[in-house]
Symmetry: C2
Subunit: 353 residues, 2 copies
């Protein structure tokens, strides 16, 4: 049994989509036990449309629903302890749920998750890991927007956590990890990335296989299983790629409409198009995973539909089943046990002076 | 007459491609006067294949050719004063050429350009501007890799220079300019971007129309004419987008091959595909423009073909014809005249203490 707490109010379409998604997920993963949080008046009629979900899950009424445009600080002030978003996260903290899922706004969800679950020991900052379709299958990219900027130690934490997630999600023994960088050598700045590379090479970990630097186009190629970068660049790379996919699809649509021959051709080749669309479908890879907190939280795209929401739930389900949290904890402990903690080292030096 | 100096040896295929590109360009823009720099033994036989180009251009033999994998410092040591790359840039400095074009390696080309031409007064750092196909036509994105990191003043310089380039290239009176950022508000870091936004808003320039922040997917949408970011993020966004386009095209190719019906459909819809391919064709938008130096240098993709190289030459040609350099100079002067230079301001304060 996998217990999933759900912020039913999150997302552009609220319970309309989240409950449909939960219902779809339940059909596919019947061993899920949902704990649903939302405003009863809005959720109840929708829940009644999905009797199986209704009967197999627990519903908790929450007064407050966090809005999609609410600033993190405002959401915290207004929704802490009482909103459906908070309650879903808190269920993980209290050990009532194994993972929380929300399509609510990212900033608020991260702020509440940090406040409620706290950062894992040995981790300085949490990250959001995204799943990216590639020519070789799928890769994990992190951070795609939890924080801006990262020092070498934080990048190393991301590499460890991303590696653990790859092992949990793809069932690879020793995933390859690359640091996102620009091709130009001997250039100033981004010393953090170079330093993180040195640290990773020296650590020579048995949980991840450090590949070296990768460039922007290596992500789609699937050169490595895990691409590590700080959140500003990661977020912009992700959105630039999504934008390009949408752009090509719009160009193609407009172009095909121009002649009836092209339209006929499109109909004949439709199965091929559908395959590509499915491969690049953002709904299929929906589900940003918050890593580095004392519990797993999954962020679904705010604008997704029931199918996309079900995919986000599936990501959470897989994470729990494959012991993501335990893997991260073990990997971090292993790595940090090898290092002399900086504070101890300092004390030692002070003692001998 | 537009005088273009060419590093014939640059690029993965050297004079084979650069001279073919020059020949194509000459057919389309007959008022170009080429000054060619390269190793005679290699260039002469190829040049003889293009008699019109040969007869209408000047060829200078250069001993040294910069390799594609040469580090900038190494290239400078080995090729300064003597390589075809250096000579092509120097021709601009000496006023013999209006613009230089090279498909040589970016790091070396930028290092030599900076060393030879020097940075414009009022500009702290040069930038590489790329032309990006969008749903609305084309946009300019800078910096795509000249430098890593940028403070608010440098971002503002990029905005001014990108604006001047948009006016030169697209013939828009007051182009819209956006600062690339992540959507999440109230997040730490990237203070430079927020500060640049404040500066741009306050400056309220008549040469550019400051739009505000844009996100990664706004680039492909064509939300603004000019997207401003520092070189690390810009380079990764550009390559992530290129990677995605290649990925979709490979998915489609593989998918169409699977059934003969799909292949037939593809043949019928081929004109539509070709239109999209043309729109997204990296050759068509080939030509990174080095901005902020005392002269214009165009970087062609190293792996491009003759058609792509001709497109890079065309970019240089348009830049000269439309007075890009003079526009940048005038815009920067105008902006900086409005500000009290920081050093003067300091002196004043010191004087009154």
């Amino acid at each position: 049994m996998i217990r999933i707490s759900l912020d039913a109010m999150g997302g552009d379409f609220g319970p309309e989509v989240s409950l449909e998604g939960a219902s779809r997920a339940l059909t596919r993963q019947p061993d899920i036990q949902f704990i649903l949080y939302g405003q009863e008046a809005e959720c109840r009629p929708i829940l009644n449309k999905y009797p199986k979900l209704r009967d197999k899950s627990v519903f908790h009424h929450c007064e407050v629903a966090i809005r999609m445009d609410e600033k993190p600080s405002q959401a915290l002030r207004r929704g802490r302890y009482s909103s459906s978003m908070w309650k879903a996260i808190e269920a993980v903290k209290l050990g009532e749920a194994d993972v929380a899922v929300s399509a609510g706004n990212t900033g608020a969800l991260m702020a509440m998750s940090k406040f409620c679950l706290r950062t894992m020991s040995n981790v300085e900052r949490p990250a959001i890991a995204g799943i990216w379709p590639t020519l070789r299958g799928e890769s994990i990219v992190l951070d795609v927007g939890a924080t801006i900027g990262a020092d070498s130690q934080q990048l190393l934490d991301f590499a460890l956590m991303g590696g653990a997630m790859a092992r949990a999600l793809f069932e690879i023994r020793r995933p390859t990890v690359g640091l996102l960088n620009v091709g130009v050598e001997e250039i100033k700045g981004q010393e953090e990335v170079k330093e993180a590379g040195r640290l990773l090479r020296e650590a020579n970990l048995d949980t991840i296989n450090y590949h070296g630097f990768v460039e922007g186009d290596d992500i789609g190629k699937g050169t490595v299983d895990v691409v590590v970068t700080e959140g500003f660049t990661g977020n912009i790379a992700l959105k630039a790629a999504e934008g390009t996919a949408r752009q090509i699809s719009e160009f193609l649509r407009a172009s095909i409409k121009r002649t009836w021959i092209a339209q006929l051709g499109y109909l004949l080749a439709k199965s091929a198009f559908d395959r590509v669309r499915e491969k690049m479908d953002p709904r299929k890879v929906n589900g940003g995973v918050f890593l580095g907190l004392n519990g797993i939280v999954i962020k679904s795209h705010g604008g997704t539909d029931g199918e996309g929401y079900a995919a986000a739930i599936k990501v959470g389900y897989d994470m729990v089943r494959n012991g993501l949290f335990e893997k991260i904890e073990a990997d971090l402990k292993k790595y940090h046990a090898l290092r002399v903690p900086p504070s101890d080292a300092q004390e030692e030096t002070a003692g001998t002076l």
